[in-house]
Every structure is written in structure tokens, then in C-alpha cells.
């Protein structure tokens, strides 16, 4: 029998692939598919029922609570919220967004430099290695709010000529100082997870220490730490709000000004929603890169 005869009579039940023979699912398989469908439907029903029950109960408890009327009037006054939305948006874009952009770029450079210094073995860099370690230990260990206060009020107090007392710039500096320490540690951990055999292979090809780092170690390390770095970016966006303590009119500060004028807290809720609008897509994206990097590593493990 030739291939052609065996393959194509185009019967409606033919499988989407062909090994040269015709295949129709057995009665047993057809029954199994029906059973599987039934099971899926049942699971969907259970999930829907339990969600409605739990979420419904929670909603009922909240809405029927004695203070709900007052709370919804002071926190969820949407028409008032809409009128002050532009003010908060201006604060968000002029402060939080710009702060995030400047800080994340600087943090990437400084963090990478610190990580490279800490992982280097060159004897000439020993003093820098010690300094970098002290730096990271200190600024990872002090709450960022304190750094912002110390930088924001401490540096102007020195009354040095030519040193700024612009709270916005001082706020950015404080954020950069703290996050560089975090990011340096994340990148360093990435560098350390690249297997020594990769370094050995590169060195035995004649690549110098620096070339090994540049072409072999860093590309792999950075790829691995992309998800945690994105996590840090989300945290950075939120933490830019802390500079409001210095008097920078960011989204939080703008909301606070409004709220203390009208004794209505809807501006805070609005500000929270604006932050969520940016951070939720970013966290979803982070999850996706994390999943992909795990898949990639698993694929390598099988090779």
C-alpha cells in the first residue's frame, strides 16, 4: 500500500496529525473526553459558587456596617474626587514619575558599579571593595524615611556654598542612595549564581577577567535578576511618595493638601488608584518575565 492511499481520504474524524495511518478515537477515548468535560464544568461551578459566597459575604459585612455611610461619603466621594484629580495627576507626573525616571537610571548605573566592585578580585580595588561593602551595609540597613530626612534636612544645614537646598533634588538623592544599595545586592547575587564553570570556560579561551565579566558573566547574571529588579522598580515608584515629607508636592502631598482643606479623604483614594494604574501592569509584566526565566532555566536543566 502506498503512503497516499493510507493517508488521505479526508474523513471528518481524521486526526490533526498523521503518522501515515488513519486514526479515529476509540469509544473508550470518546467517553473519557466527555467525562473530562463534565469534570471541568463541575470545577468551574464550584469555583464560581465559592467566589460569590465569600466575596458576597465580605461585601455585605462592609456595606451593612454602622459606619459605612459616613465612610463612603468621606473616602469615596467620586464627584469631589473628579474635581481634584488634575491636581493629584500634576503632582504624580511632575514629581513621582520624573523622580522615578531619574532615580531608576542613576540607580542602575550606581548599583551595577557597586556590584562589580564588590565581586571583583583585583587587589588594586581592595579599598573600594571595603567602601562598597560598608556603603551597602549601611544604606540597606537604615529605613529610607530616615535617609530622606537626614539628606533633606542635613545637607542644607551644612550651609555649604553651591550645595542645593532644593528639596526635590535632595529627595532624589536620598532615593538614589538607598535604592543603589538594594540593587547592588540584587545584581551581585545574580553574578554569584553564574556557575564557576562558565568563568573557567571563558578564561580557558583566553578571555581576560574583564572580558569574561563583560561577555559571559554579566549577560547571564542580568537576565536572571531581571524579575527581582522589576520588583525593585515597582517598590521605587511607590517609595518616591516618601519624599513628600520634605515638602515636595507629589501625588501624596497634593492629596494631603486637599484632604486637610476639606476633611474629605477621597484624594488619598484617588492617589492610591493612580499608583495602582502604573504598578499593577508592571507587576503583571514582572510575573511574566519571572515565569519565562524559570521556563528557560528548566529547559537548560533538561539539555
Amino acid at each position: 500500500m502506498s503512503e497516499d492511499v493510507r493517508r488521505g481520504d479526508g474523513s471528518p474524524n481524521s486526526a490533526p496529525y498523521s503518522f501515515g495511518g488513519e486514526w479515529t478515537p476509540s469509544d473508550f477515548e470518546i467517553q473519557r473526553r466527555a467525562d473530562r468535560k463534565k469534570k471541568v464544568r463541575k470545577n468551574a461551578f464550584i469555583a464560581a459558587f465559592s467566589s460569590i459566597f465569600v466575596l458576597g459575604t465580605l461585601m455585605t459585612i462592609i456595606v451593612t456596617s454602622p459606619g459605612w455611610k459616613v465612610l463612603s461619603a468621606t473616602f469615596f466621594d467620586w464627584s469631589y474626587g473628579f474635581t481634584i484629580l488634575p491636581k493629584i495627576l500634576v503632582g504624580f507626573f511632575e514629581s513621582n514619575v520624573i523622580l522615578t525616571l531619574i532615580a531608576s537610571a542613576s540607580v542602575a548605573v550606581i548599583g551595577l558599579t557597586l556590584a562589580l566592585i564588590r565581586t571583583s578580585r583585583s587587589p588594586a580595588l581592595t579599598p573600594f571593595r571595603i567602601l562598597a561593602t560598608i556603603y551597602v551595609d549601611m544604606f540597606r540597613g537604615i529605613p529610607m524615611l530616615l535617609i530622606i530626612l537626614l539628606v533633606g534636612f542635613g545637607i542644607p544645614a551644612l550651609q555649604l556654598k553651591g550645595v542645593t537646598n532644593n528639596v526635590f533634588i535632595l529627595g532624589i538623592i536620598a532615593v538614589i542612595i538607598t535604592y543603589s544599595a538594594y540593587v547592588a545586592e540584587v545584581i551581585r547575587s545574580g553574578i554569584l549564581t553564574v556557575h564557576p564553570s562558565q568563568r573557567a570556560a571563558a578564561r580557558s579561551l583566553g578571555l581576560s577577567n574583564f572580558q569574561t565579566l563583560r561577555y559571559v558573566v554579566l549577560p547571564q547574571a542580568l537576565r536572571r535578576v531581571t524579575p527581582p529588579l522589576l520588583n525593585d522598580l515597582v517598590a521605587l515608584i511607590k517609595d518616591t511618595g516618601l519624599v513628600s515629607i520634605l515638602g515636595v508636592t507629589d501625588a501624596i502631598r497634593a492629596a494631603q493638601i486637599e484632604a486637610s482643606r476639606t476633611f474629605n479623604y477621597t484624594p488619598y483614594v484617588i492617589a492610591a488608584c493612580i499608583f495602582l494604574l502604573v504598578t499593577i501592569p508592571l507587576t503583571r509584566y514582572t510575573d511574566r518575565t519571572l515565569r519565562r526565566s524559570i521556563e528557560r532555566q528548566n529547559a537548560q536543566g533538561q539539555a
Binding site: A201, Q211, Y215, Q220, A299, A303
Partner: protein, 249 residues
């Protein structure tokens, strides 16, 4: 007689209090292959890593082309430019395509232009029947193909001496052969090499000299015929007997 490519004289290496190599001396003339055999942990890999300066010797001298490479003033990068090394675990760079793996050292270490390096790399891939894999990432290749790419990568810089560290140990038996025939072809083309292996049949085919290591010492050495068929040292006999029982002879 011309100068040997590699001379190892009375080399000793210890990790802490554990002596891994003791009084090791071997000479590898040009176009010959020296095969190191011995159980795992006998010091074969350490010896190769010492030759490559990935480990520093504690005593003794290693000379490459008559020049001492174990002196303090030696620049390891200069020495490694003359050596190729292939590892048991391939160690291809997973973030680079096959071609990029091969042209990295010629471009960055030997200053070749990208076009020239690519041309040479494709030539090598073609010679070993891997040209259609040039644009793939290593994890898409079988173990045997990965190891052959690793061999090509080490060849791309035209080394004086090739060090092969149990290059088939991580492969399943079906894939071992394609790697071994690649090594055999290199030998036929006159490549000088030192290999550590557990494949005794292969050792017999490519070796000019076989050294048996146990607990960091060379207990016996000689031609493959003598070593594999009529060893005099009872320890060698014992080792070969065990290898035979494991079905590798």
C-alpha cells in the same frame, strides 16, 4: 628531536591537607596524544586544570614550548591563548548562539574581524557536520552536538595544545561515538593533546602514551598496547579489571 610541546616536571598540588597531585612528570611531543586514565578523583582533571593555570601548582614546573608557565610573572591569559580546553560539562555559553560561542575568543582575544572569525567558524562547523546549527542556542542541541561545538570553540583559536577533560562522561552511550570520532579526526590532523578519559577502547585508538593515575601519582605509563594489554603494576591491572567489569573495554 624537536622540543616537546608540553613538559610537566615533578608537579605537586594539594587542596588544604589533601594532596591531589604528587610528583607528576609527563612529556608531550608535538602531534602526539597523551591519555590520562584512572578512577574519578585520581587527579586527572586537576592536572589538566594546572596545565591551563586554572589551578596553581604547589611545586614543580610546567613548560609550554620550552617556556616555563608556572613562574609568578607568567600572564595566564597569554598562556591560555595557546591552549584549548574542553570540559566534561561542555560549558557552552547559554546566552549566545552556537556561532557566537565560537567567534567570541577569536574576536575578543585574537583581534580577528567578525567576518573573518565567522568565516573560519562556519568552515569548522561544516567540517564537523554542524553547519545548520550555527544560528541555534546551545540548549536546542543534543549533548553530543553541544560537546562537538565546545571542541570547535576551543579549536577556533588554533591552539598549540588541546586539553580534553572526560569529554564524553556526561553523554549517553549513543552520543559518545560522534564526539570520539571528532577527537580522532583531530588526532589524525596532527593536533597535540592531553586527554582524561574513561573510554579505554578510544584511549587505545588515539593514544601515543597512556598514563595511569591513582591518588595523585602516575603509577605506570607506556604505549597503549603495553598499558591496556600487559600492565605490570598490579594497581593498573586492578583498575582495568574494574573498568572491564563495567563494560567499557
Amino acid at each position: 628531536m624537536s622540543m616537546p610541546v608540553l613538559e610537566v616536571k615533578e608537579v605537586r598540588k594539594a587542596f588544604g591537607s589533601e594532596v591531589v597531585l604528587e610528583d607528576i612528570s609527563i612529556t608531550v611531543p608535538e602531534h602526539t596524544a597523551t591519555v590520562l586514565i584512572g578512577a574519578s578523583g585520581s587527579g586527572k582533571s586537576t592536572l589538566l586544570r594546572c596545565i591551563n593555570l586554572l589551578e596553581l601548582v604547589d611545586d614543580g614546573i610546567i613548560k609550554l614550548d620550552g617556556q616555563e608557565i608556572t613562574s609568578v610573572d607568567t600572564d595566564p591569559d597569554v598562556v591560555r591563548r595557546k591552549l584549548g580546553m574542553v570540559f566534561q560539562s561542555f560549558n557552552l555559553f547559554p546566552h549566545m548562539k552556537v556561532l557566537e560561542n565560537i567567534i567570541l575568543a577569536p574576536m575578543r582575544v585574537h583581534g580577528m574581524s567578525r567576518d573573518e572569525a565567522t568565516e573560519k567558524a562556519l568552515e569548522l562547523l561544516n567540517r564537523f557536520g554542524l553547519s545548520e546549527k550555527a544560528d541555534q542556542y546551545p540548549d536546542r542541541l543534543s549533548g553530543g552536538q553541544q560537546q562537538r561545538v565546545a571542541i570547535i570553540r576551543s579549536l577556533a583559536v588554533a591552539p598549540r595544545l588541546l586539553l580534553l577533560d572526560e569529554v564524553t562522561s556526561a553523554l549517553d552511550p549513543v552520543l559518545v561515538n560522534e564526539v570520539l570520532s571528532t577527537v580522532r579526526e583531530l588526532k589524525d590532523h596532527g593536533m597535540t593533546m592531553v586527554l582524561a578519559t574513561h573510554e579505554m577502547g578510544f584511549a587505545r585508538q588515539v593514544a601515543d602514551e597512556v598514563c595511569f593515575l591513582e591518588k595523585g601519582r602516575i603509577l605506570e605509563w607506556g604505549t597503549p598496547e603495553k598499558m591496556l594489554e600487559n600492565p605490570t603494576n598490579p594497581r593498573t591491572k586492578d583498575f582495568l579489571q574494574r573498568v572491564h567489569e563495567a563494560g567499557r573495554l
